[in-house]
Symmetry: C2
Subunit: 232 residues, 2 copies
DNA sequence: TTACTAATAGTCATTTTGACCATAATTTGA
DNA sequence: TCAAATTATGGTCAAAATGACTATTAGTAA
């Protein structure tokens, strides 16, 4: 590789990255996992992760690693936090920095590569036993998601561009884990004036088709300036 | 030192810790800073920070470093996040993990030590130019504080054990940056049934003495179980 | 044409909010 | 001793938000 010649291939050998990608599909919340193709946990399913290059910011490292292992790119990865327990990694001392994102699985085809021999979306309710402290990272990230989804309009990132109000409600129900009143949920959302109604309607359903809406970040940003507060 | 003989003195040389301590004193918000007594920023004021030992968790490292530099110990340090821009540290690649805490300055006497030649509380409004990316860390932490103080009862950590409602209100005003209605603030707090009234009253004031209250974590924990939600 | 399903709209009592106003308890100084 | 000043504390009231429902509508399926 040319890049390898120009920039000496040097890694930060005691700091790694792990990515936690949430997706919503067929009514259930999923996370993206990879099967390690090499290294000390070869054959095991785990969160996509890898080493940070010396000449690369941690944000860039997260994007690069995620793309290399799963093919998923061009998404907004937000840092969760660092995990630095003494015994989290078996062979040496490694601190890992976890990243977090919400995506629409149908928008990305998975292409395992680099150190990953496979990649797939796993239902959050049937995640296998994870190596290292990945369970801890997952739990922390899920709690973070639950909190964040109620205070910021990020749930839309998990839905298709155009969605029905019921789809949005079901997303919230599956993340928060409790049922919501349809009418009240609807009223609350509509009163925010945050959603853009589409001219289209839902298709191929065996009942009255619902109106489709989309989320417009520009509108949200404008509302924010007028001290609007997203709360669900 | 005996410890140095038993455990080889080995540090994680590319990962550091920085601590952001907020205190509230004489009506203003302060942060704890130290003057570097050695190293590449000798003589400069900065956040208390240092290297992580190989045989020490990052949480432990944060407590140890803070105590060694400032004498402040036995406080709850929460991780903020890692900062890992390429050029954040001038001489080599260093990722830092920032920690965050709220304390009552009057409860701690400052004892500069280790790599710090001095330590003091600085008004958040007159923080000098900071080295590295400490300004970025401070800004992030302050934003975090603003958010957190509205959603969790942590403001009490900045006040004396017993405080008046007005003192609490002024604390909130100084963190959030906007005035609050006294009567409404009072009503809201009291309706939470979170504060414990004290039998004592405020002393040495040249007007009617206010009732003193204290915060009881046990009560908060009990309320939490009954789906209580702290919101201001 | 009739059941079924979900969409959408509306009701209503209760609670919460925001913007005030009123009175009470102290201290200070004239 | 009394008035002014200052803050504490409690109350009012209309408007807005919430939670628990009910009603109606539009479309599918059989």
């Amino acid at each position: 590789m040319k890049a390898a010649l120009q920039i000496p291939y040097k890694i930060m050998d005691s700091v790694s990255i792990d990515c936690l990608l949430f997706g919503f599909n067929q009514g259930t919340l999923k996370i993206l996992m990879v099967k390690h193709g090499e290294g000390i946990s070869k054959g095991k399913w785990a969160l996509p992760g890898g080493w940070i290059n010396y000449h690369e910011s941690i944000d860039d490292a997260a994007s690069r690693i995620l793309k290399a292992l799963t093919g998923v790119s061009n998404i907004y990865l937000e840092q969760l936090r660092a995990f630095g327990d003494l015994d989290r990694y078996p062979t040496k001392r490694v601190i890992t920095i976890a990243y977090f994102a919400l995506v629409k699985p149908e928008n990305y085809s998975l292409h395992p590569g680099f150190t990953a021999s496979d990649a797939k979306w796993v239902d959050i309710k049937s995640v296998p036993k994870l190596p290292y402290d990945h369970k801890k990272i997952l739990d922390f990230g899920f709690a973070h998601l639950k909190h964040k989804v109620r205070h910021e309009p990020i749930g839309f990132n998990l839905l298709p561009k155009k969605f029905t109000l019921l789809a949005l409600q079901e997303l919230y129900e599956s993340i928060l884990g409790n049922p919501l009143d349809k009418s009240n949920f609807r009223r609350k959302l509509m009163n925010m004036n945050l959603l853009v109604p589409s001219k289209e309607k839902q298709k191929d359903v065996s009942h009255r088709a619902a109106a489709l809406y989309s989320f417009d970040k520009k509108i949200y940003d404008r509302l924010l300036k007028e001290e609007f507060n997203f709360e669900l």
